[in-house]
């Protein structure tokens, strides 16, 4: 344990660098390394109390704060939106405590922390994506308890996840699956990829950059190293479908992005990724 005086002497500030003390950060980094070595597996870590409520991104925030450095440029989005209050608060917390730059532009960022979206503009191999995860275990709900779910993962028994897919087909005729469709990582590990929309599920495959997942409330981290093989869980004769808005974005006319209906102006559809939408309309310089 370091006293406040010693901390101040080291950092020139009574607060540790990047909010978390070094011991905590090392613990999170170890979990991340283990997660990268075991793609898709849920690795437990001692999730700390954060200045935001659990379930609001505290896990991803711990991951970001453990890897961020003064040369980083941080972007935080909430459902694709840089301007959401939660995203802004976390972005400013990271940038202030880690003394680094912040941005809303995907292309400029070195670390993108996101709630439930993979940025529309593909990330490069020198960028890092950190996803916030509320429920890391796709077997947990039907298994009834975490211990049973862990045993099923260990046995490679994913029947319960298939049961949910079957129920989906029977009750809703498949197709319109909700957010966070479970995926198979490298053909063997079942992973809940956080509630990203169906649009983003196929985009998890073969990414050139690592993806880190932080679940603060349930104290788990997961990771996909670059070029991981990721496939949505779907029946052989029922290919995974992505529902399409069918209407162009009212802001940038995009027909290819993930569009959501505006709550302010019902009937109009907009790109969920605001930075992508702006970059389409922004004059090229």
């Amino acid at each position: 344990m370091m006293s406040v005086t010693e901390l101040t002497k080291l950092h020139g500030s009574p607060e540790p660098y990047a909010y978390l003390d070094e011991v905590s950060k090392r613990e999170v980094r170890r979990a991340i390394l283990k997660a990268l070595a075991l793609p898709g597996h849920q690795i437990p870590f001692s999730s700390r109390e954060m200045p935001i409520a659990r379930g609001w991104g505290s896990g991803a925030l711990q991951v970001t704060l453990s890897v961020v450095g003064p040369d980083d440029i941080v972007k935080v989005i909430d459902q694709g939106d840089d301007a959401s209050l939660n995203a802004q608060a976390m972005r400013s917390l990271i940038a202030t405590t880690a003394e680094c730059e912040q941005t809303t532009r995907t292309v400029e960022a070195t670390i993108v922390q996101s709630r439930h979206r993979i940025p529309e503009i593909p990330l490069r191999s020198d960028q890092l994506l950190v996803l916030q995860v509320p429920q890391p275990d796709p077997l947990r709900r039907l298994a009834g308890n975490a211990a049973t779910a862990a045993a099923l993962h260990a046995e490679g028994d994913h029947t319960l996840a298939w049961l949910e897919r079957y129920e989906d087909e029977v009750r809703r005729g498949g197709g319109a699956t909700g957010a966070g469709h479970p995926v198979m990582v490298n053909g063997a590990v079942l992973m809940g990829p956080s509630p990203i929309p169906p649009y983003d599920i196929p985009r998890l495959d073969d990414l050139p950059h690592p993806v880190l997942f932080g679940a603060g409330r349930l104290a788990r981290v997961m990771a996909l190293p670059p070029h991981s093989h990721v496939r949505p869980l779907s029946f052989d004769d029922r290919p995974f479908l992505i529902p399409d808005a069918g209407v162009a974005c009212a802001g940038c006319n995009s027909m290819t992005s993930h569009r959501i209906e505006s709550t302010v102006r019902p009937g109009t559809w907009w790109c969920s990724d605001t930075d992508y939408c702006f970059s389409n309309t922004r004059p090229k310089s």
Binding site: D157, L163, Y166, R171, D237
Partner: protein, 293 residues
């Protein structure tokens, strides 16, 4: 020429049917105690002392050195009053209880109690239990009837929805579950209908062992009659080993050619159902038969 050949085959066939079928399930030396146990438990309990509770340590001897064989396609009835160990026997064979000693060899699978066999594998691939409570039989009340039936197909690796949908639909319709109810949540089904869903779950991919626990208890008499008719068809067609546990001797007489009588955790009599029920040797069996309404 033709006639002789035909007669020969029929005679061979007849001879085959007289020979006992090869055992599909062999249970040996099955013992289960509830409680700490002491060296004198087995002496102080049993039909001789008329208790299953050990006077020395208070443990309950649910089963002691129970042994039985069921051939493939054969139906064995287990009779006995409440507390005789009937349900403990089924729960052991369904791996809900871990026996102290004993083996249950299933043809093609091995010992049911082997640690390398997971509980879920036992439930989905080896022994299917039909129980008064769907939850106890391993079904999820919050999922649709169809999904519950499909579970055993999914567990064994089927990944074609269309094919499973067809097989499950046939299994459910075959047991007179209306097609427009297949997608309904199991919790909305009546007890009798839930039993049909459980039977469909067993028949969609017949397991080596089928366990029926009190199949008619909790059903009203008219449903019981329909259910018995259906059960008779099911167990007659079923190719694996079936064990039916019931305190209702009429049910066993109807469904099982062979019967075993349990009392205080011990087998007191077993044999052909007609023989045992018409001419019971053991005083307990005599009591059971005479106490029928």
């Amino acid at each position: 020429m033709f006639e002789t050949a035909e007669r020969l085959t029929t005679r061979d066939g007849a001879l085959d049917s007289l020979a006992p079928p090869p055992p599909a399930l062999v249970v040996e030396n099955l013992t289960k105690r509830f409680g700490g146990g002491c060296p004198r438990c087995f002496q102080l309990t049993g039909p001789e002392t008329s208790t299953s509770r050990c006077g020395e340590c208070g443990s309950v001897v649910a089963l002691h050195e129970v042994a039985l064989e069921v051939g493939s396609g054969e139906v064995l009835g287990v009779a006995g009053e409440s507390g005789s160990g009937k349900t403990s026997l089924l729960r052991c064979l369904h791996r809900d209880l871990v026996p102290e000693t004993g083996r249950a060899l299933v043809t093609g699978v091995g010992d049911l109690f082997d640690d390398s066999l997971s509980d879920r594998r036992v439930h989905t691939e080896v022994a299917v239990l039909v129980h008064q409570s769907s939850a106890a039989a391993g079904l999820s009340p919050s999922l649709s009837a169809e999904t519950n039936v499909a579970e055993r197909l999914l567990a064994t690796g089927s990944r074609s929805f269309g094919e499973m949908h067809l097989r499950v639909g046939e299994a459910l319709s075959g047991l007179e579950v209306d097609r427009d109810r297949h997608a309904n949540v199991l919790a909305t089904f009546s007890g009798g209908m839930q039993q049909r869903v459980q039977l469909a779950r067993a028949l969609v991919q017949p397991p080596p062992v089928l366990l029926l626990d009190e199949p008619t208890t909790g059903l009203d008499p008219s449903v019981q009659a329909a259910s018995l008719g259906l059960l008779q068809e099911v167990v007659d067609d079923f190719g694996g080993a079936t064990i039916i546990v019931s305190h209702d001797l009429r049910v066993l007489r109807l469904l099982c050619p062979r019967i075993t009588v349990l009392r205080f955790g011990r087998i007191v009599e077993s044999g052909l159902t007609d023989q045992v029920l018409e001419d019971p040797h053991h005083p307990y069996t005599q009591l059971l038969v005479s106490s029928q309404l």
